[in-house]
Amino acid sequence: MYAVSKAEKAYLLDTIETGTRLDGRQLFEYRPISLQVGVLPSASGSSRLRLGETEVLVGVKVEVGDVVESSNDNVQLLFTVECSGSASADFLGREAESWSSELQNALESAYRAANVFDDERLSLVPGKFCWLFKVDILVLDTGGNMMDAISMATRTALSTTLVPRVHIVQSEGSFELEIDDNPDACDTLKVEKAPTFLTFSLIGNHFVLDPSIQEETCARGKLSVAVDANGDICHVYSFGLLDAVELSRLLTIIKKTGKVLLNRLDECVKNGESS
């Protein structure tokens, strides 16, 4: 557990009251993000993201699976979050499980609500076969705001994922799937609708974006909002008593920041640079 003394907390609260944070950031500013894609050669898509001290590694595996519960989705997403015991003392023992299930559930609900992969090209045999995207997330280091780091890394990993082209052969009422002979015949995924979380901590009477671990420890509330590239909100996750008046003010900030952040991420992946 990260420890903060009463004196440190008092100084942090007073500083935030003046509109700055202890690392010099403004209230609604992200820490520097560094991003690497294609880090796992054996995965269909992967990324490694560092947000301040927080570091996560995401790998996506693409498989063809049977449709469950007669849904008509082309794609099934399966998230697994693993919190490495060496990342934080919080992850030792049973704590790790509750952390990973919390993060997993948040991602699942956000992606379900956003209906990300509504793409014709991904259609296999409706009601019989569908794509199964297994997203494995590994938390390597914790420095606060895991939710945002994980969702951003997941989104970039999905955006670099290559899905092999598959031909459907119908014979005697049963379907067979044939993978295209050309190994380069792959489709990339459209991720415009894939959401990412923007997390705020409520410290004193102020919301701060992208809280560090110290700020998270001093916070009395938390608000995570999932937005897509258009700035549309698709999921909200909150903890603690939050002020409704403040929230409406945050809304404009969320829409603007979300748009800018996601466009910047996409640009980075396209141009192969990091920021």
């Binding site: 420890a3 003046t18 690392d23 010099g24 560094s34």
Partner: protein, 300 residues
Amino acid sequence: MDKDDDTSIFVSPFEQEAVVTPSIVKSSQFVAPGDDILSQESVVRGHGTMVQGTRLTSTVAGIVERVNKLVAVLPIRARYSAEVGDVIVGRIRDIVSRRWKVDVNSRQDAVLLLSAVNLPGGVQRRRTYEDELKMREFFDQDDLISAEVQELKQDGLIMLHTRSLKYGKLENGIFISVTPQLVKRSKKHFHRLSCGVHIILGDNGYVWIYVDDAAYGEDEEEANFSKRRENDKSNLEQRLSLIRVRNSICILDLYFLSIQPETIMLIYEETIRRNIPVQHMLRPDIINDIYRTVKNTKEM
């Protein structure tokens, strides 16, 4: 040699040590785990080394240190290993009977005995049962303190004391943790930087950046404490320079540069000269720029 030392403050602390201590071979040899350490026939195996057959190999990444026949490897990055007289910054981890357990970034928690602290009011007497009950009023869990290493026990246990007015609870400031090897042992650990900010560079790599309360005049009493905090709140400029110092230390830590008042101020002044606002100080492109200029000024 001394002249050389003054101009190049950016040599690693190990190189400096090599200059200071005559018994260490000057041409320090860097080794990685598993590397052979070249040595004569009869050597005494020290820390960080291992004998494999007839070869002597390193078990850590570091610099070979030779004292007469003893060969050891000083690790580049390691937990803090205490020496008597070190000034440290620590965090109270636990309170047990008549002692505080203190986190000092070492292999094990240090111990601060109730009998090793100054009682409020400075009275000298035996510690009573009442004092024991009041221990949380002196230092509570998670509190940051500055202290001195009084004694090292046989099994490596670190005993601390705060029996001086300059040691004790830390308030009104920012804490950061850096690589302990970057803080050099020196006569002075409580510094007042030329920008008016005070720092305590703990030998254990814990750094406390603060505003000195004494600056407000000694006649002010406890009752004025809340008023003083009000004043502080308006004093944004002071807060910003504290944060600038903090970020300067972060930059030094990132580039594995020795952390001393001179180097901190070099970075601090460079960012002021370039008009970099505090919120941009930790951006990778800017850090890189600052580092390059500072590195160049040293070499000139």
